[in-house]
């Protein structure tokens, strides 16, 4: 079974530039999550999708971050404009359905450095 795919793996940008990350979940997984992991901390949920609808985006900085999951499969996360504090690893995860019974599978992440 193929895992969660993310690209790019690394990205370096200047502050105030824009950047986009892509995630392809495990086939058949209806629930998709984006987490932000700042160096030395545990991941923090940014947004959760169920199919192509948003379930939770309470911790997404909506003035600069946006995410979409068209057709309920792939997802993109965008930052515009980027700030220095956005430097982090952005993790995508997917599960068959929401709730603790179904395991979340994580991708390798995209490491973003904002200079």
């Amino acid at each position: 079974e193929a895992g969660v795919a993310q690209s790019p793996r690394y990205k370096i940008i200047e502050k105030r530039q824009s950047v986009a990350f892509w995630c392809n979940p495990i086939s058949g997984h209806a629930t998709l999550y984006w987490y932000q992991q700042i160096l030395g901390q545990g991941p923090k949920l940014l947004i959760q999708f169920q199919n192509n609808g948003v379930v939770d985006d309470s911790q997404l900085p909506k003035d600069r971050f946006s995410a979409e999951r068209l057709k309920g499969v792939d997802s993109t996360l965008k930052i515009q404009p980027a700030k220095l504090e956005d430097s982090a690893v952005y993790l995508c995860a997917s599960s068959l359905s929401p709730g603790p019974a179904d395991t979340q599978y994580f991708g390798p992440g995209t490491r973003l450095t904002v200079l």
Binding site: V4, T31, G42, P43, S95, P98, G99, P100
Partner: protein, 114 residues
């Protein structure tokens, strides 16, 4: 609000000796709890989970954890450490809404010395 506190930011053991990674949780209800492991340059992997069934949970690679409600703890143990166990470990709780959102602790770095 639900949260977890990992009591040690760094644990160092010798190969072949027991491992204990400590986690306390805060929750006003009976939570679901997890341990995830993160090896360098690899994705997070689920070690084990507790979802209100047996309080002693066995996971992959010989790890296990015991849910103790009276102590609000969910410590991770392994009888004998292996070099390949060196990694970052996260204790995780789900909120009452049970939407699937995971709330991670700060992490514990496990170092295994030869």
């Amino acid at each position: 609000a639900q949260s977890v506190t990992q009591l040690d930011s760094h644990v160092s053991v010798s190969e072949g000796t027991p491992v204990l990674l400590r986690c306390n949780y805060s929750s006003s209800y009976s939570p679901s709890l997890f341990w995830y492991v993160q090896h360098p340059n690899k994705g997070l992997q689920l070690l084990l989970k507790y979802t209100s069934a047996a309080t002693l949970v066995k996971g992959i690679n010989g790890f296990e954890a015991e849910f103790k409600k009276s102590e609000t703890s969910f410590h991770l143990t392994k009888p004998s450490a292996h070099m390949s166990d060196a990694a970052e470990y996260f204790c995780v709780v789900t909120p009452a809404s049970n939407t699937g959102k995971l709330i991670f602790g700060q992490g514990t770095t496990l170092q295994v010395k030869p």
